[in-house]
C-alpha cells in the first residue's frame, strides 16, 4: 500500500510535535508550589517569633527594663512587619502567576480543540464532497478510445489518493483531539497514534465502496483504479 508506507515518517513527525506541545501544556509545577509552601512556612515561623518577642518586650517594659524591652519590641516589629508584608506580596504574586499559567494552557488547548473541530465539521467534508464530484465527472465521460480511458483512470487514481489523504488527516485530527483532551485533564499518556492508521484503513475500505457505488458498470474507470492495485493492494477490505 503506497499511501500507508509513505505516511510512516510523517506520522512520527506529528507524534513528536504533539509530544512537545503536550509537555509544555502539562509540565508539572508541583515542585515549585511545594517550595513556595515551604517559604510560606518560614514566613509563618518568623511571624510566630514576632509575637513572642512582642509579649516579652511588653513584659520587660512593664518591669521597667526599657532597653531590653525596647529592643525586643523593635525586633517584633521587624519580624512581624517583614514576614507579613513578604508573605502577602509573595502569596499574591505566586497565585496570580500560577493562575495565569493554567489559564494560558487552557486557552492553547481550547484553541486547538476548536480548530480541530472546525476541520472535522467543515473542511474534511468539503474535501470529500469535492473529490466525489470529481469522480462523478470522470465516470460521465464517453470513453471512446483506450488513450482517453487511460487518461481518465489516471485522474481517478489521483483523486482517490486525495480522498485517502482526507482520511489520514481525519486520523491526525482524532489523535490530536485525544491528546489535547488528555492534556486538559492532565493525563500522563497523551492520545494514541495508532488511530491515524486505523482511520486510513477505514478510508481505504470506504473509498473502495464509493468507487463501486459510483461505477455504472464493472468496466468503469473507477473499478479499474481498484484493479490496478496500486492504492488498494493488500487491503482486501
Amino acid at each position: 500500500m503506497v499511501a500507508l508506507a509513505e505516511l510512516d515518517d510523517k506520522i512520527k513527525e506529528i507524534e513528536e510535535l504533539v509530544n512537545k506541545d503536550y509537555q509544555l501544556l502539562t509540565k508539572d509545577l508541583s515542585s515549585i508550589s511545594q517550595r513556595f509552601t515551604q517559604l510560606h512556612q518560614e514566613y509563618l515561623e518568623i511571624s510566630r517569633g514576632a509575637v513572642s518577642d512582642l509579649m516579652e518586650g511588653l513584659a520587660e517594659l512593664g518591669q521597667k527594663d526599657f532597653l531590653s524591652g525596647g529592643i525586643k519590641l523593635i525586633k517584633a516589629a521587624i519580624k512581624g512587619g517583614f514576614a507579613w508584608w513578604k508573605k502577602k506580596k509573595w502569596f499574591s504574586q505566586f497565585t496570580s502567576a500560577l493562575e495565569q499559567i493554567y489559564n494560558t494552557r487552557l486557552e492553547v488547548i481550547e484553541q486547538k480543540l476548536r480548530d480541530i473541530e472546525l476541520v472535522e465539521r467543515e473542511h474534511l467534508p468539503f474535501i470529500r464532497e469535492t473529490a466525489e464530484r470529481l469522480l462523478q465527472q470522470l465516470v460521465s465521460f464517453n470513453l471512446s478510445s483506450p488513450q482517453v480511458r487511460e487518461g481518465v483512470v489516471d485522474r481517478a487514481e489521483s483523486v482517490v489518493i486525495t480522498l485517502l489523504k482526507s482520511y489520514y488527516i481525519a486520523g491526525v485530527g482524532k489523535f490530536l483531539k485525544a491528546a489535547y483532551e488528555d492534556a486538559r485533564n492532565a493525563k500522563v499518556i497523551a492520545g494514541d497514534i495508532s488511530v491515524i492508521k486505523e482511520e486510513l484503513l477505514r478510508g481505504i475500505a470506504e473509498v473502495r465502496e464509493l468507487l463501486q457505488k459510483l461505477s455504472p458498470s464493472p468496466d468503469s474507470p473507477l473499478i479499474e483504479v481498484i484493479n490496478r492495485n496500486r492504492v488498494f493492494g493488500g487491503s482486501n477490505g
Partner: protein, 169 residues
C-alpha cells in the same frame, strides 16, 4: 566580653547578691578590665542599691547587644528567604513566558491558515462550477475538462496540506 567571662560574672553576682551581708567586689573589672572597683559593705544600704542598678544596666546592655545582633541576623534571614521566593517566582514567569509565546504563535498561525483555507475553498468552488457547466461535445471540450479536473484535484491536495498544517499548528 567572652562567654566564660560573662558566665563567671553572673555567677559571681548571684552569689554576692544572695550574700550581701558581705562585700561584693571587682565584677566591674571583668566588665571592662578597668574602672572603679565596687565594694559593697553589708551595713551600707545605699551601696547595695548602687550595685543593683549597675548589675541591671549591665544585664540590659548584654541583652540588647544580643538583641541587636539577632535583629541583624533576622534581616539577613528574611533577605535570603526573599531571594528564594524571588527565584521561584522568576521560574514561574519563565514558564509563563514560553506558554504566552506558544499561545500568540498559535493564534497568529491559526488565523493566517484559516484565511488561506477559505481562499483555497473559494478557488476550488470556482473551478468546480466551471467544470460541471462545461459540456463535452468535442475532443477539445474533453481535454479542457480533464485540465479542470487536474486543476481542481491539485487545489484539493494543496488545501489538504494547509488543513494538515492548521491541525498541527
Amino acid at each position: 566580653m567572652k562567654k566564660e567571662e560573662k558566665e563567671f560574672l553572673f555567677e559571681y553576682i548571684d552569689e554576692t547578691l544572695d550574700d550581701l551581708e558581705k562585700e561584693i567586689g571587682f565584677f566591674d573589672e571583668s566588665l571592662s578590665g578597668k574602672g572603679p572597683k565596687i565594694v559593697v559593705k553589708e551595713e551600707k544600704r545605699g551601696k547595695k542599691d548602687k550595685a543593683d542598678k549597675l548589675i541591671q544596666a549591665f544585664n540590659a546592655f548584654n541583652d540588647s547587644k544580643e538583641g541587636i545582633v539577632e535583629v541583624l541576623n533576622l534581616v539577613k534571614a528574611i533577605k535570603e528567604t526573599d531571594a528564594k521566593a524571588n527565584s521561584l517566582y522568576l521560574e514561574l514567569q519563565r514558564e509563563l513566558g514560553v506558554l504566552e509565546m506558544r499561545k500568540e504563535k498559535l493564534k497568529e498561525s491559526s488565523q493566517r491558515l484559516k484565511e488561506l483555507i477559505e481562499t483555497y475553498r473559494a478557488q476550488i468552488e470556482k473551478v468546480m462550477e466551471l467544470l460541471e457547466k462545461l459540456p463535452v461535445e468535442s475532443d477539445e471540450d474533453f481535454s479542457k475538462k480533464l485540465q479542470l479536473i487536474d486543476r481542481a484535484n491539485n487545489l484539493l491536495r494543496e488545501l489538504s496540506s494547509v488543513v494538515l498544517k492548521f491541525l498541527t499548528a
